[in-house]
Each structure stands twice: as structure tokens, then as C-alpha cells.
Amino acid sequence: MQKTEGGAVSRLPVDRLQSSLSIRGLTKTYPGTRALDHIDLNFAAGRIHAVVGGNGSGKSTLIKILAGVLRADTGALTIGTDEFDLSGFDAASSRNAGVRVVHQDLGVFPILSVAENIALGSGYPTTALGLVGWRSLRKRAATVLDSFQIDVDPGTPMQSLRLAVQTRIAIARALQSQDNASSKVLVLDEPTAALPTHEANELLGTLRGFADMGLTIIYVSHRLDEILDHTDDASVIRDGSLVGTETTPSWTEEKLISAMIGKAPIARKPRAQTQMNRGNLLEIRGLETGPLKHLDLTVAKGEIVGIAGLTGSGRSSLLRTIFGVTKPAGGQISFDGQKIHANSPERAANRGIAMVPENRAVEAAFADLPIRDNLLITRLPEFAPPGRILRAGLIEKEASALVARFAIKAVSTASTLSTLSGGNQQKVIMARWLSREPKLLLLDEPTQGVDINSRNEIHEQIREAVNGGAAAIVVSSDFDELALLADRVLVIRGGHVRAELAEQDLTVERITQLATFDEQSGTRK
């Protein structure tokens, strides 16, 4: 490891001339899908280069190949003056070539300390006895954190940190120099998908610093404003083929979207006021749960209520309590005019409540089961007359109809969920619940990782459900989404509802300001 002098600059042994990256003729095929089709791409040193594309267009596949996690069918890679064959490019070659990757799920271990999370990228230091050298572990982590200007104690458990900080630690872990391999290229897959705008901006600032040091940065995101504001170049891929590469100033949002979907985008619909006053559906009084200290909330039929707040403010706890996953410490919940005493996800689902949880992989996905099971698992009794077996034909028909209705990009409904791209998996989970025609939708980051076009489609589906008399509570870190979708937005901070925004007040700026107020004055929660 090198000695540090001063800031992050000295840490990164980057040679500008050596770190440009180019890909030639990259092709990758999965059973039934050509995920990448003869891709040629150049990434210049010292620039942030965005890769944009709809769900399932092949972005993550591209990144996994660069990381050496997946083998390409064919393709050549040049980094600086080094040439590689991508069909035999493995994780070790990727590291040695100077490629550093932060995958979409970050790959952090929530219950381990920051120091251990960093050590997992470089190996644990050991004592003479072969035991873990905890002191040098902490010291090494402190050096890394210091040089990347991340102000946290190495002993802090990862899970107690904001996602933006976790992301920066994941980046620091990827970039910390080890052996003699120097970092040349930093690749990030949707690092901002679950970050509120201001935290995303903070992260992009950090990335700009790395680019200025000469690092090549490849950046995948579905947030077009972010790409237009913070990147230097942008390439669009659609269905595995490159549509075009231009410098960012020559792109506009419309141009990007039409390149992504291959046709002119439909105008983004403004928030249509939904018909309310059809009676109250949900009444919450004095709810105490998780970080929430005393929360009152009434939701009327036909209403979309947005919940804004920072990570850890209790947004998810609220939804989880209504759905019976967590027992509240106090307070009362009434649904459809009836007090809820005993609650569980099963009871909640039977009452007509649906919940799309925040963490898809852990709480919603049956990764190794077929797509059709994932879609219809909550509705199976419909397909089995009492005492009879399931009607496979009907199941297949309904599953195909849902795949079409939600524009899920899948080879067949019998393929396992794990073969879908991230955004398409999210669409499956949304379809699972929306197709039950629930009375109350609890949506936690409903469109995370979903491309902008599909996001509009999902919003449309939510509005449709609500116009039919249902109600929805939407938690989103994407304040833009809240402003677009919700009839009113509650801002939660410090365990209480701090503000309620509606009509003209309901703007991204106001939400951001109110949700992050404490943080600007130095404290959090």
C-alpha cells in the first residue's frame, strides 16, 4: 500500500494516457436473448461517460463483462495500451487491468463494520498467529476513509450509515490500491437508484473529483437529469445494440428517451387531480413504530399520498406496520372503518392491502422460480377450484397477459425471475400486486431501477387503480417521482410529520428542503 500525503489525489496512481478504455465487437448471448450485439464503445480518460438504456437493454451485462464476472461470446478490450480478449476475461484479469466496479447492490455487508467491509475488498491483515489483526485492520480502514475524505469511524456498523455514505465506502473499497495494480477505470451500475437527489449530487461531486484525477468513469443510471447535468459523454443502448454516442451537451432529455425506446416519447402527463372524498380508507392515530414517535395519517379512497424523508426516517417502518410485518409499539390503525387488532401480512393481504417492499432481492423476489409463479403466487387459489388441482392453462394465459400489460421483457413466463434485468424484475413485483386489484397500495420505492418510460407506465397503472377507488401510499427517494405522482406529500423527520405539501406547494424543491432541513444544520434524524 502506498503512503498518503494529503487528500485523495495522491492516492490514485492514475496515468491519463493509460486509462482510456475501448470495446470492440462485444457480443453476449443468453438462452433466448442476445443481451449485447456487436457493441463498439470508447471511453476517454478523465471523463464521466454515461451508459443509458431501457430495462433489459444490456447495461448490467456490459458491466458484468467488464468486471470479469460474465464471459462474453466475442469481443476485444483495450485499456491504455493493453489488449484483452473478452471471451476469456475473468475477475482477476479485470482487477489487474485496473478496472474497479461498484455493482448495483453495492455488495456491502450491513451487519459488519465499515473497517471489515473495506477489508473484504483487500484481504484481512493477520497477526503472526494467523488471526485477524483487528488493530491494523482499523488503522488501514482509517487510512482509506481518510484519503477518500469520508468522515466516519471505521468501527461503525455499515447498516447505520446513510445509503449515500455506504455507496461512497463501496467506491473507496473498489479504488483502494492494493498489490501494484493501479486503478484506471471506475464502473458504477445505478449507484444513485435509491438515493434522494441531494445525496446523489453529493456522490456525483465525488465522482467528478476522481475524473479530474484522470480516471475513466463509466456510469449507468436511469435518472436522465443526473446524466444531463453531471456527465461528459452519454451512450444509449437499446435491445443490446448501440444506438449512439455523443458528448452530453448534444443530448437532450427527449433525444435520450427517443434513442432509448426507438420512437418519440409520449409527453409526460402532468399530475391529474384524482377524485377524492369517497370516504376514508385508512386512519392512523398516534402510531409509534421504529423511528416514528407519534404519527397521524388519514388516507381517503381515490388518493395517492406520498411520503418523503431521509433514509432511516421511518418511511418504510410506516408501510411495514400497516402491512402487519412489524408490530407497532403504540397507536391505532383503522382500515375501511374497522379497527385493526390482530395484523399480519396474510391478514393485511386478505383485507385488500398490497405492499411492494423496498428490498426486492430479500423481500419480494423468488429468484429461482418461474416468472409466472412470481406473478401469480398471491392469486393461486383463483386457479384451483375447491378440491381440484391448479389449471395450468389458465395460469399461463393470465401470466402472459400480465407480461404484456406491464411490458415485461421476458423470453417466456416459464423462465426463472433471475433471468430478467433488474428493472423487469421490479415490474413483475408491481404486476403481482396491482393485478390483485387491492384497495390500498403500499409502495416502497416502486420504480427503483425502472427506466423512465416504464416508470411513466407504472405511474399510469397506479393512477388507474386509484381512480377505480383504491388508495396508495408511496414512499420514494426520488422526490421527482413524488411530485409527479402524489396528490399530497407528507414529510417525515425526527419521528413526526413535519409538513404536508399539496397543490402548488408540492414541488421537488420544497420536498428536498423540508426533508433535509436537519441535515443542513448539521444533525440527522
Partner: protein
Amino acid sequence: MTATRTHKAPSTQTGRLRANGWALRVLERYALVLLIIIMIIIFSTDPASSRVFLSAPNINSILANQSVTGILSLAMLVTLVAGFFDLSAAAVTGVASVIVASFTGAHVGNPVLAVAIAICVGAAIGALTGFLIAKVRLDSFIITLGLYILLGGVLVWYTQGQTLPTGSSFSDISSIKIFGIPSPFILLIIVGILVWLFLQHTPFGRYLEAIGSNSNAARLVGINVDRIVWLSFILSGALAALAGCLLASRNGGGDATTGSSYLFPAFAALFLGATAIRPGRFNVWGTIIGVFFLAIAVSGLTLIGASTWVQPVFNGASLVLAVILSTFAARARSRRVVRPADTKS
């Protein structure tokens, strides 16, 4: 720089590759069946074994004997699909065989009643295990291992190490042949069909599989995970007891250790079975094929006159090999080249 799209996929080549992939998938699913056929050919042509191997008594005894292993494996399959190991199932088989023996033997009871009692006791033990695992949330491996040891001990105490004989009318049942097929094998096939229908084609079975895939997510889609896991243990106990009834009838008695000795053969069959028919998953027909794969090998090797150490070596090696083969086949399949995206969106 603006890149252009270069679409070229020679259709004839893709066609051939698709055919290859198809062949590979069939091979992957039926490799175990193929191996059974190869073994049958070898053992029925080898002069040392051919005469006896293909004789009706040998075939019948393989079919009948293995039905106990088969039904026990299916009992264990029910909970394994949801991700729970049930080591105690084999002990339940032992308990049931002793119950049936003591009710039809010395007390000269009604065999139907005896079987009903045994199955109820099996279900009750399953209910207890299931309660501890699903409701109290204790570790299934440890609980069922404990129960396996405990029940074994209780049986030694109860039988005093003796074999309790069943009534002769009871043991005759398993010697009946229907259209020349031994009745235990018919029972196995019926149980197999029922378990298969149950696991694959009822909501309950799909829930079990969802729980096995991601129990967290299963809970959050509103599945009553505790209740379903509990019920699966009850069902598993009842099926394991049924295997015990068959065992008592086949052996003409029940003792403390025979039932328990079926644990590892049943597990081996389950894991072998997970490499066939639905590769990567525990499944009914794969399991039954696994049972007979091992049985045919054992019978053939014995007839050839192989030493006693050959059997365990063979069983262990085939388990490891089967897993290796199916894993490689799965990898090859995921690398296989197919036509470019023909998607539905």
C-alpha cells in the same frame, strides 16, 4: 463517434446450436435414467449376474424392497421443498413399523386400525416437530436430529431389542401382486402421483416451493408461512409412518433399528433425484429414479460378487458424480447460443 447497428446472425448456425441446446437439456434431465438403462444392460449381459438379475423374483424384490425407501424419501421431500431437513422422518418410519407390529401381532388387532393408528402417531410426531420448527422457530436440522436419536432410544426400550412380529395376514398384504406387479411398488407409484400433484399442482405445494425459494418474500406476499410449514411436517410424518407400515409388512415385524437405517439411502435418493427430471430441484420423479438407480446398482454388484466395500463406494461416487454432471450441463446450457432477442414487449 456514432456507432451503427450490425445485425448478423447466420440462421443455419443458430438453428444447429438450438438443436444442440435441446439435446443437452434432455441429456441433463435423463442422464440418470440413461445410466440405469446402461447398468441394466451390463448386469443382464454379464455372465456372473445375467441369470438371476433378470429373473422375476429379483426384479420383484427390488421393486418391493425399494418402495419403503421411496415412500420415506417422498415424505422427506415434502419438507425439503420448503427448505427444511427432516432427519426424524426415518425414526418415524421405525416407530410406525413397531406400532403396526404390536397391534397386529400379539394383540391380534385389526390391520386397518393398526395402520390408521400408526399414521396418526406419525402425523402427531410431525405436528410436534413442525410446531417446534415453524412456530417456535428452532433450527430444523438440530431438532430433527435430536428427535431421530430420541425416538431410536425409545424404540429400543419398548422393543427390548427384540423384533415384534406382525400377524401373518398383515405381512401377506405386501406379497400380493396385481397384474404381476408387487403391491408395494403400486403403493409407491400412487403415493408418488399424489405427492407430485400436491407439490406441483395445488396452491399449497406452490406455496411450499415459494417458501423454499425465499421465505421472507413468501411471508410478505401474504402466505401464512408458519402454518404451511407446520402442515408440511404433519404430512411428512404421516407419509413416513406409511413407509413404516409397509416396512413392517415386508419384514413381517418391527424392530428398533431397521427404520432408522433408511435415513441415508433416502437422502442419497433425494439428492440424486435433484440432478434429474427438474435439475437443480428436489422433485418426485427424480427421487424415485434415484431410489431405483441405487437399488439396481446394489443388486447387480452383489450378483457380480463385488466385495462389500464396493457398494458404499459406488453409492457415494455416483452421488458426487451426478451432482458434477448436472452442474456442468446447467453451465453449458447457460452458455449456449440462441437466436437474438425475440421478446414480448
